[in-house]
Symmetry: C4
Subunit: 231 residues, 4 copies
Amino acid sequence: MLRQLREQVLEANLEVVRRGLVLYTFGNVSGISREDGLVVIKPSGVPYERMRADDLVVTDLDGKTVWGELRPSSDLATHLHLYRSFPQIGGIVHTHSEHATAWAQAGRPIPALGTTHADYFYGPVPVTRELTAEEIGGDYVHATGVAIVETFGNRDPMEVPAALVAGHAPFCWGKTPDDAVHNAVVLEAVARMAMYTLSLEPNAKGVSQALLDRHYFRKHGSTATYGQSNK
Amino acid sequence: MLRQLREQVLEANLEVVRRGLVLYTFGNVSGISREDGLVVIKPSGVPYERMRADDLVVTDLDGKTVWGELRPSSDLATHLHLYRSFPQIGGIVHTHSEHATAWAQAGRPIPALGTTHADYFYGPVPVTRELTAEEIGGDYVHATGVAIVETFGNRDPMEVPAALVAGHAPFCWGKTPDDAVHNAVVLEAVARMAMYTLSLEPNAKGVSQALLDRHYFRKHGSTATYGQSNK
Amino acid sequence: MLRQLREQVLEANLEVVRRGLVLYTFGNVSGISREDGLVVIKPSGVPYERMRADDLVVTDLDGKTVWGELRPSSDLATHLHLYRSFPQIGGIVHTHSEHATAWAQAGRPIPALGTTHADYFYGPVPVTRELTAEEIGGDYVHATGVAIVETFGNRDPMEVPAALVAGHAPFCWGKTPDDAVHNAVVLEAVARMAMYTLSLEPNAKGVSQALLDRHYFRKHGSTATYGQSNK
Amino acid sequence: MLRQLREQVLEANLEVVRRGLVLYTFGNVSGISREDGLVVIKPSGVPYERMRADDLVVTDLDGKTVWGELRPSSDLATHLHLYRSFPQIGGIVHTHSEHATAWAQAGRPIPALGTTHADYFYGPVPVTRELTAEEIGGDYVHATGVAIVETFGNRDPMEVPAALVAGHAPFCWGKTPDDAVHNAVVLEAVARMAMYTLSLEPNAKGVSQALLDRHYFRKHGSTATYGQSNK
C-alpha cells in the first residue's frame, strides 16, 4: 500500500540522518496522500541503518494503522493534527537538531536576521506557548500539535514552514516529505547563524520588511525568479 | 575468560571513538559480569586503532587482575567503586567529551532544559563536590568514585545515569557497556544544547515537572510507550 | 565558448561546496575574461551534484546571455557591477558561509584581530550600508553591487578582497575564480576566529599597524617573501 | 641527508592537516637532530597534498640551508631560536588552530580549568608580550622566538610545551616532531573547552594545585603511572 510514498518517506528519514539533524532514533518524517487520506510515518525506535520501506506504517487521519506491522512513531498524533489543520502541507519533519532545539529550549522565536532566513521563512520562526500540566498529563502528543496550530492562527503555514515547540524541539513541513526535510536543514542553519549573530550584536534588528519581501517572494509565489523556469 | 564481555567492552570503547567523544587514548569503557563478580576494562594508554579484545583486562571488584597481560585503565578504581555502590549498573564510560567536560570545569550541573534531556535524565546531571587536597594526594581515583556516589545519596543512579566530576569530566553508566555509551553520546548532545540555550537565554527555566515526568517515563519504566513492544 | 574558463568556474563552484561554505544551491562563483569582456557564471538553482561545464552561462558585461541555455545566477547583476567597477579582479564568490554571514547580519565589519586576518585582508573586512527600500524594491541585485563598491571608495579592492553585505552575506573576489574561493575560505575562518576572540575578550584591540603591514606585505606585493620564488 | 628525520617531519606535517589544525599551507612542523645540530623544516607555501620528504629543507642552527632545493618555512627563525634556547625539545609545531589562535588574539593565557589541561600543561599556557614596532619592522620572525623564550624565563619549557604569540597563534613543542603535534592537538581541544567553560562560568577558578600536580605527574616524570610500563 502506498509503496511510492513509503519509499519517499523512507528516503526523507534517511536524508535527515545524512544531514546530521538527528542522533540515534530521534526524529521522524511523515508524508500524506491527500487523495487517500492516509499518512505514512516512520516506525517508533527502529534504527535508521536497518529501516526499510516495509517498516513504515500507514495510518488514517485518526491514527488507526491500516498497513504495517510496527508501532508508528510516538509523535504520530502531532503529525496528524498538523495534517488535519494545514491542508496545504504534504510532509512533516520532527528533529531535535541542536541549534533549533536551543531556541525552542530558550523559549524564543528565531528572528529574521538576514536574507538566508528570508529566502525560506516569511518572518520569525514562532515558538509555541508552553503546554499546561493538564495537556502534558493528558493527550500530550496531540496537544503539541494543537499548540503549534494555535501559534499560526489564520496565517498560511506555508509562509513560515516551521515552528518551535517550547522546551522541546522544531517541527517543519513542506509540500512533500522531501521539501519538509529541506526546510528542516535550512532551519538548523538559520538557527545557528541567528545564535552567532546575537553573540556579536545582541540588539541586531534584523531584516527590513522590504528585504524580507524581496527575498521571500524571489523564491516563492507567482513572481518567483529563482532557479530555472518550469517549462 | 569472559570473551563475550570483552568483545562487548572492546566494541563499546571503539564506539566512543567513532562518536567523537575521545581524543587519542582519553576515555575508557568497562563492563561487569555480576554473576562472576568480574570487571572487564580497557587497558591504559593503548591506541584504539590497535586495541583487540585480548588487550582488555579482567579484574575482580577489588581491582586484582585475574586475566590479561596489560595494565588496566588508570581510572579502574573509580569504575570499581561505582560497580560496588550501584548494583543496578552493568557498564561505565568515562570520556572528556568537550561540552560535558566544560560543564564539569564550570562546576555547574546541567539543568534539564528540554525534552531531549528529559528523555534520558530525570533531572539535572549533577556535579560532584571538589575533592580535598588529602583525597587528591591519597587514593585519588577511588575518591573520585566516592564523590560520585555521595552525589547520588539514596537516589536511584539509573534515573540520572551520569555525573560530572568537578574540574574533571563526565562518568556515565547504563545497563550494559553499550547502553552506557549511548548515554554518554546523548549527554554530550544535551550538554551542547544546554550551553547554546543559556547563551540565548541565561535565565532559561527548564522543563516543568510534568514535562520531565512525561518524557522520562515515556522511555523508561513499566509504562514506557516508546519503541516496539518486546514480544 | 570560453570552455577553459567555464571549467575553472565549475571547479571553483564545486570547491566552495567541498569547503563547506554552501548549503544546497546557495552561493555562486563567476569568472571573467577581460580580453573578451565576457563573464562565466553558475546557473540559478541547479544542484551542484549534477552541474557540468555546459550548464554554466556566459554573459556580456551588461548581463546579456551570449552562450548557454540556462538562466544565470540570480545574483548576476551584483557580479557584473563588481567586474565593471573593479578592473583588478578576475573572479567573484558569493556564499552564505555561516560565520561571515553572522557578521553581515550583525552589521559589523570584521576587525583585524590577528595575523591570519592580516595575511589576507589589509584592514577590517567592511560591511556595506543597508540598502534603502527603494533600492530593494527596484533593481535590488544591482544595488547590492553598488553598495559594495561605495564601501571601497577609491581604495584598491585587492587590499581587502571581500565585503559583507549588511543583513545578507559576504562577497569575495580575487585574481581568478580559484583565488576568490581561497579568499572566501579564509574569510570564513577569520570570521569564526574573530567571533571566538570577542567572546573571550570583548575589547580585543586587534593587530597594530606594524603587524598588519608586516603580515600583509609578507604575502602580497613586490616585497613578498612567502612561498617559493617564481622562477 | 637525515632521511629518517625528514620522513618523520613530513608525517608530522601531514598529521597536523589530518587533525584539522591547518587550512591550506598555514602551519609548519620541524624536527632537530641534536647530534648533527641540524633542523628539518617544511618548505614555504607548498601544498600539503603534494609535499614529499625530498621537499623538506635541512638547515643549520643559524638558518643556512645545508640540503634541499626549496625555500624553508617563513617561520624558520622562530623555530631556530626555540631550538637554541630550549635544549630539551626535539620538535616544534606552529599552527593557526582556531581556538588556540582566538586565545592568542584575545591576548589571554589559557587557564588550567580542568584535568585535561593538567594532563599536558603544568599551569596556564602563557601568551607572549606584544612585539614592538621595531621588532616587527626588523627581524620579526626571530623576535617572535625571543618573545616566546622570554615568557618562560628560567622555567622548564617541557612543563608547558606551548605558548601563544599575542595577536598571532600558538607554537607547540615536544620531545619529537610527533610529540609536538600531539601537544598541538591537545592544546586546541583544551583551548576549545576553556572557551566553553568561561561561557558557562566567567569566574571559573580552575584546578587546585593538588589536582594540577596529580594529573601532570600521573603522565610525566619518574612517578608516572599512566600507560604501559616500558619493559
